[in-house]
């Protein structure tokens, strides 16, 4: 079974790398006003295919080996974490679509998105590192960072609602902030699953 588990681990690492890259590329493109929708769409599609591959492999492992204990927890968590990575890809695509649909956004103030994006990218990296290293402390800390992202989100939405920002910039920023906030939530779920793999404890949401 160890060979199969290694294969699953490799798949997960591939997904982790691709999903992190997708989100970074989409954010950088937005901040530098570039249209990368096609690239990100391809990456998002690839992540969905990889998620299916993880799911198939996990089911095959369950059928062939009927794993228990830590192996079972790892496989179960991989299925859910792969979904999380696929969601990263999907939100990256949503971010890229904003620039594609709204057109040129270079006149907008990107500072609100930039600050939140930095935290979110850090959360993605931490969730992946926590998963690779089975680092429960790092996984638990994701909740604290998520509180910061949530706080940024509320403050920025409040700022947008004050109506001082040009409508196109306001809507695009609000959409992207929402996508970033959701990405942060998925990073937290990944952290919860890391804790489950290591200790068997499930997060109480």
């Amino acid at each position: 079974m160890d060979l199969w588990l290694n294969k699953l681990t490799n798949l997960m690492q591939g997904m982790a790398e691709l999903s992190e890259n997708s989100v970074s590329t989409a954010i950088e493109a937005y901040l530098s006003d570039k249209n990368v929708v096609e690239t990100i769409h391809n990456q998002s599609t690839e992540l969905i295919m990889l998620q299916e591959e993880v799911s198939d492999l996990a089911v095959e492992l369950l059928v062939r080996y009927q794993p228990v204990a830590a192996d079972l927890r790892f496989i179960k968590a991989c299925m859910e974490i792969a979904y999380g990575f696929a969601r990263f890809g999907r939100y990256a695509y949503d971010i890229a679509q904003v620039r594609d649909q709204f057109g040129k956004l270079s006149d907008c103030d990107h500072s609100m998105v930039a600050n939140t994006a930095d935290e979110v990218k850090r959360m993605i990296r931490s969730s992946i590192k926590a998963f690779n290293d089975r680092d429960v402390k790092m996984a638990e800390d994701l909740r604290k960072t998520d509180d910061i992202v949530d706080s940024f989100y509320r403050q920025n939405i409040k700022r947008i609602l004050e109506g001082q920002i040009e409508i196109k910039c306001a809507i695009s920023a609000a959409l992207i902030l929402r996508y970033l906030e959701r990405i942060a939530d998925h990073a937290v779920y990944i952290g919860d699953l890391v804790k489950y793999i290591v200790s068997g404890e499930k997060a109480h949401l």
Binding site: Q66, V68, A69, A70, D71, L72, R73, S199, G200
Partner: protein, 280 residues
């Protein structure tokens, strides 16, 4: 007003005697078998070492562990079959419904009637018919009334999910049916003496998947009326059929708990290594 309230509340509380009685009933009702520092020996050499555990009534408890860890010895102690081996002894207490079955004066025959046993290899009485295999125990107990015997045989064969398959062949030899049917016949035979506990020593290890599934369904149904202890080498079977699992290693109880917890998140590394096949 305050004083009245005190009196009312006090009158609602049970007395010490009532509390003791309730606890006693709770303990007896919840746990059918209690092992208290129980050990078993072969010629002075311990095979079961100082085990304490409580086996819940109307639940399936699986005993798992590597070959030679003492699983079979343990369940053979439950109905005092262990002592039939020359040089075999025990120490500690083994309570059935709160009574120590190893106390001097306890009748092993009565205990064996209360705790039925089903073995790995189906072992119907070879010269007897299906009907007589089931009725044999009752006949030995002096039941001669044919109508009563018919009733018991039918009920036991129905409970062991065999009636529909053999009702027209009751006079055929017990050995003439398939292996899976023979094992269910042995279960019917064990049920005929109206036991309270059913111990099964790898009851499906010699059976094909279809017969195994039937035995497992049967175990699930029987736990409504019986306390079941099953020894198995098949981890997946233990995970499927049992409510509680005990892991034994070198005669010691390493871990005992709800099956879901043992198989998803065991506390002991030794349990984890054993159930995930990474032993040694």
């Amino acid at each position: 007003m305050l004083e009245d309230e005190k009196i009312t509340i006090k009158s609602m509380l049970p007395t010490n005697k009532e509390v003791q009685s309730t606890n006693h009933e709770l303990i007896l009702g919840r746990f059918k078998i209690i092992l208290d520092n129980f050990s078993a020996y072969y010629s002075g050499k311990p095979a079961i070492k100082d085990i304490s555990m409580k086996i819940k009534s109307n639940a399936v408890t699986a005993i798992i562990g590597p070959s030679g860890c003492g699983k079979t010895t343990l369940i053979r102690c439950f109905n005092r079959l262990h002592e039939l081996i020359s040089g075999a002894t025990t120490s500690g207490r083994l309570l059935l419904d709160g009574e120590n079955i190893y106390e001097s004066g306890a009748n092993p025959i009565t205990i064996r009637r209360k705790i039925g046993m089903v073995f790995q290899k189906p072992n119907p009485f070879p010269t007897m018919s299906i009907y007589d295999n089931v009725a044999a125990g009752m006949k030995l107990n002096g039941v001669r009334d044919r109508r009563k015997l018919d009733e018991i045989v039918r009920r036991c064969l129905e409970m062991s999910a065999l009636w529909d398959e053999v009702k027209d062949d009751l006079n055929k030899p017990g050995m003439s049916v398939s292996g899976g049917q023979q094992q269910r016949l042995c279960i019917a035979r064990a049920l005929a003496t109206e036991p309270e506990v059913l111990c099964m020593d790898e009851p499906a290890s010699a059976l094909d998947p279809i017969s195994t599934a039937k035995i497992e369904q049967l175990i699930d149904r029987l736990k409504q009326d019986y306390t079941i202890v099953i020894v198995t080498h098949n981890m997946q079977q233990a995970a499927r059929v049992s409510d509680y699992t005990a892991f034994l290693y070198l005669g010691k109880l390493v871990e005992f708990g709800p099956t879901k917890q043992i198989f998803e998140n065991p506390t002991e590394k030794l349990t984890e290594d054993y159930i995930s096949g990474r032993f040694g």
